[in-house]
Amino acid sequence: MSEVSPLQQSAPWVRLETTEADWDAADPALLGTMFAQLILIRSFEEFVLQLAGEGLIHGPAHSSIGQEGGAVGSVLPLVSQDTVNGTHRGHHQFLAKVLTHLAPGGIDPTQPVSADIREALLRTLAEICGLDRGYSHGRGGSMHLRWDEAGAIGTNAIVGGGVPLAAGSALAHRLARTDNVSVTYFGDGASNIGSTLETFNLAAAWKLPLCFFIENNRYAVSTKVEEVTGEDRLSARGPGFGLASWQVDGMDPLAVYLAMQQALAYMRSGQGATLIEADVYRYFHQNGPFPGSAFRYRSKEEEAAWRARDPIDRVAGHLVRRGIMSREAVDAAIASAGALMAEIGEVLLEPVPDGKPGERRIRPSEWPDPGFVDTGIRGDLSEFECVRTVDRDSFTGPLTDMKFIDAVAGVMGRRMELDASIVVMGEDIHRLNGGTNGATRGLKDAYPDRILGTPISENAFTGLAGGMAMDGRFRPVIEYMYADFMWVAADQLFNQIGKARHMFGGSHPVPVVLRSKVAMGTGYGSQHSMDPAGIFVTNPGWRIVAPSTPFDYVGLMNAALTCEDPVLVLEHVDLYTSSGEGPVDDFDYTLPVGRAAVRRSGSDVTVLTYLAMTPYVLEAAEQVGDHIDAEVIDLRWLDRASIDWETIGQSIRKTNNVLIAEQGALGTGYGAWLADEVQRRYFDWLDQPIQRVTGGMASPSISKVLERAAFARAEEAVTGLEAMGVGRDA
């Protein structure tokens, strides 16, 4: 007979409930502030629903009415430097953080609100209405509320998408040697998605000062929490990951406050990440001014039972019970909060000219200028103004033949030496003498806190890096062992990092560097052999560099680490082991942004290529050199904003023929967008369709002969050049 004994998770899991004694002991000013915040948020949300009913909110209005207790109770013990983010239902968390930031000493509910608070409510409402006055000039709207100054680092429309970003903020707090914490709010729906679960693990492993605050409102749109999980006490997940966890009644703001105080003590003392589950209830449907029962996924009785536990009534009751406020004062405060919102609304709204009685519209002057549509997708590169930029022709230092991989480790070592904000993370980069390829050789010993081996969770650590970059105190560098893993982290790369600057109004930098290895030709098969350039180039927020020589690697990596935009640095394992010209001792120069390199001058055809295909194209050009005079341009900067049209255009006007040469599969290939742009820019200069050399349709296989047949090298470039029918024999 086997012996079976119960096991216990090492992290604590508790439920906290208040007693009458807790309410009696609570500071009257705390309860007054709690009440003031609750009624301001409730009035704000009611006003938003009123506008939604009038058709004045474009897009969804995810009401937080009923859930205010969780947000207010948890934000009140925070300081301005503590950071919070949230999801699509984030008005209440955002407002609670803003109110706490603007009135750290508390708010007296019997007094009119300060001008600061009035202004903040107005800007928040303007953002939700999509107006220029908003924090992001109306670009973000209801689901993307961000005001860094208040520690509100951005709500998110992707369920779970903001959770890794909050981890980045938390790591920044710790690396900056503060005791600040980061709180990420999400619901029962987001508790089941990978981003969240990966971040549970990462934050617990790295003991980040991060609180996962679950507002369990029991419904993901209309899907009940019991339907989609085997353990609907969502805080039960925390201990499994090593997270100290609390369960608390979210309709009791004081209980939440007390639980958060305990969690803060845990986090501020460096013990690690925490999880709080607050049981709350949204009185309305997913969005709009109708209750969930109207959509028949729950009953009116259930809604009435939750409404009977309303957090405002509860706090008001204790205020009256303790004689802190009279019932009349409570009612008056609620009425004046409503009046305040109506008054704020007047700033943004006006009667429709010749409209029906009471019909309103947005004041035309409040809208953003449509010309603002694409402003601020990327930065203005002003960060390069004081940087020493040189190119190969203007570089005066000594050069030597060096291993490409030594340039990779060399320039990163030099930057980390001079810039303490650089933090590098990726899988196995801290071991194996510099990771799987030696790119971080020697760096773990020199900078143990800034070379971080990650769990195998690209989405979490990419988002964490994105969150750090948006925080601004650190400059994260992430490494993907294989480029194909971008799909695993696609939400963070493209929905979050790539869009963040633009979505939040155009002025928040996102300085993150992604080093992504292309491993075509190493026999790793279909899921490890992609060239990601063609995918990244579809996302305008990313800049892309593709160094093909050690000299260029140093200069382009320095440019990437200077840039205030996300930069993808493409690396190719074929190049790692190659040798080429590189600096002897100067690892500080920066290549100019947006400058391509003409590797070979020619008159018959312009070949546009990059990365490891460059040497293959040069080899091909020599092979056909007796009858085709090819001009080979190594693009170096691949993204739409940085590509060197001047050099490309000059060459096309000369040769009238264009061949775009890349190694990888056609479908995800880079050349398609470039061919499109080239034909529109240079149509009158072309003597034939833009031609391409690419790999095959399918991603390369494991079998050596099939793999070789699936991607392009010098032989394919020769075929491509010959097929153009240019040159002397043609």
């Binding site: 009158d684 200069w685 072309l686 003597d687 391409r692 050399v693 097929a723 153009m724």
Partner: protein, 430 residues
């Protein structure tokens, strides 16, 4: 052996022509010289004559079809030649067996082993060389030419319809244009091919859209080309023509051929050209061509538009011969029966609106000419003669001149000679 009958190049630079009708039936034997088909170009209706006796085995294009120059239009055989299997003969000749216009494309681009038909090949397909002589024209008359080649040809005014493309699908590439320029390629002569049938006007409540005829479009194209490529300047002149009119009356009183004032003016133009040979020129990209004899085009107004048949060797023609030939050309022009060669050549034109009472006007040079004389009506005017005002018949003319081959002084000298001839008309006949 059966052979292919191909669409002849009825006008220099034409890309296509209309097979207007078949004049002999299939299998009917014809002698050499017999008209076997009528072909229409922008400007002329041409009888296609048999080079040798024979018969048509099969027509490959139906009447009213626009056919690219050089494309097969029929399979023919010698008289009495037995052809048992016409289909096999047609196939052996590589011609399409139906009565549709054969596509001009010599070969379509082939693709390397690529089993996925709807996706592009991984590597560029090799261009397939086409017959060097085949023009780069699709069955619908579209010319395959690369953007830079089109741009380059347009810069130098080269007629792309005369260039054979060496690229895929016979596409004209830049190198083909450069080669044509080096070889002194021809300037644009005709407009692009037009639909062979003129659709009915589209009527609406407030307007009628009258579709272009081939001639209308040709006029538009050529005259637009003229004013955009030939820098015009204008020299005005006037002459007392009392004596000229008297001379004409004298000539007409004697013979049965009636001579018009215009015939005398044509003759005077020829005389002036002989006196000022620098006017008897046309512009080419790398030279100015000066003619020995004087060929003059005469503008003839027809119901469908303006045509300009050319009188040859006018300097050696008598005015009665000029009168006869002009009348013949004008009549056939109005009947649409001019031969293409009768519309080509010359260095100058005359356009006379005098019969309509126009006092004075300017005309647009008819390419490739270097000038055109616009003639108004002879009018009775007060003329100062020996310090006294007298009544005289005055004719006003305006010469439009292409400044590329001709400078102002040359034109002025020509005008002085010409008006001098009009005032001393006996010299015209000398």
């Amino acid at each position: 052996m059966p052979e292919l009958l191909r669409m002849p190049e009825v006008a220099a630079g034409a890309t296509s022509a209309l097979l207007s009708c078949w004049s002999v039936a299939v299998d009917d034997e014809y002698p050499a010289g017999r008209v076997i088909a009528v072909i229409e170009t922008d400007k002329a209706v041409v009888d296609m004559e048999a080079e040798s006796p024979g018969r048509i085995l099969r027509t490959l294009v139906s009447e009213g079809t626009e056919v690219a120059i050089g494309d097969p239009i029929a399979v023919i055989a010698g008289p009495g030649e037995r052809v048992d299997d016409v289909d096999a003969a047609v196939t052996a000749l590589g011609a399409a067996g139906d009565v549709e216009a054969a596509p001009a494309r010599a070969a379509t681009e082939s693709r390397p082993s690529d089993s996925v038909a709807d996706e592009p090949p991984a590597a560029p397909s090799p261009p397939v060389p086409t017959e060097a002589s085949s023009p780069s024209v699709a069955a619908d008359g579209r010319i395959f030419i690369s953007p830079i080649a089109r741009k380059r040809a347009s810069e130098v005014g080269l007629d792309v319809t005369t260039i054979a493309g060496t690229g895929p699908n016979g596409r004209i590439r830049r190198r083909d244009v450069e080669a044509a320029i080096a070889a002194g390629g021809s300037l644009r002569q005709v407009a692009a091919a037009e639909p062979s049938t003129v659709p009915a006007p589209l009527t609406a409540a407030d307007h009628i859209d009258i579709p272009h005829t081939r001639l209308r479009r040709a006029i538009a194209t050529r005259l637009t080309q003229s004013v955009t490529t030939a820098p015009h300047f204008y020299v005005k002149g006037s002459a007392r023509v009392d004596r000229l009119l008297a001379l004409r009356a004298e000539i007409n009183s004697a013979g049965d051929v009636k001579v018009s004032v215009n015939d005398l003016l044509i003759k005077a133009m020829a005389r002036a050209h002989m006196l000022v040979p620098a006017m008897n020129v046309v512009w080419h990209e790398d030279h100015v061509r000066q003619f020995v004899s004087v060929d003059i085009a005469v503008a003839v107004s027809t119901e469908t538009g303006l045509v300009t048949p050319v009188l040859r060797d006018v300097e050696s023609l008598s005015v009665t011969q000029i009168a006869q030939q002009t009348r013949d050309l004008a009549e056939r022009a109005r009947a649409g029966a001019l031969r293409q060669h009768e519309l080509e050549g010359g260095s100058t034109s005359i356009s006379n609106l005098g019969m309509l009472g126009t006092e004075e006007f300017t005309a647009i040079i008819n390419p490739p000419h270097s000038s055109i004389l616009a003639v108004g009506a002879a009018r009775t005017e007060a003329v100062v003669e020996d310090d006294a005002v007298v009544v005289g018949q005055v004719l006003r003319v305006v010469l439009s001149v292409d400044h590329r081959p001709v400078d102002g002084a040359v034109a002025a000298e020509w005008m002085r000679e010409f008006t001098g001839l009009l005032q001393a008309p006996a010299r015209i006949l000398a």
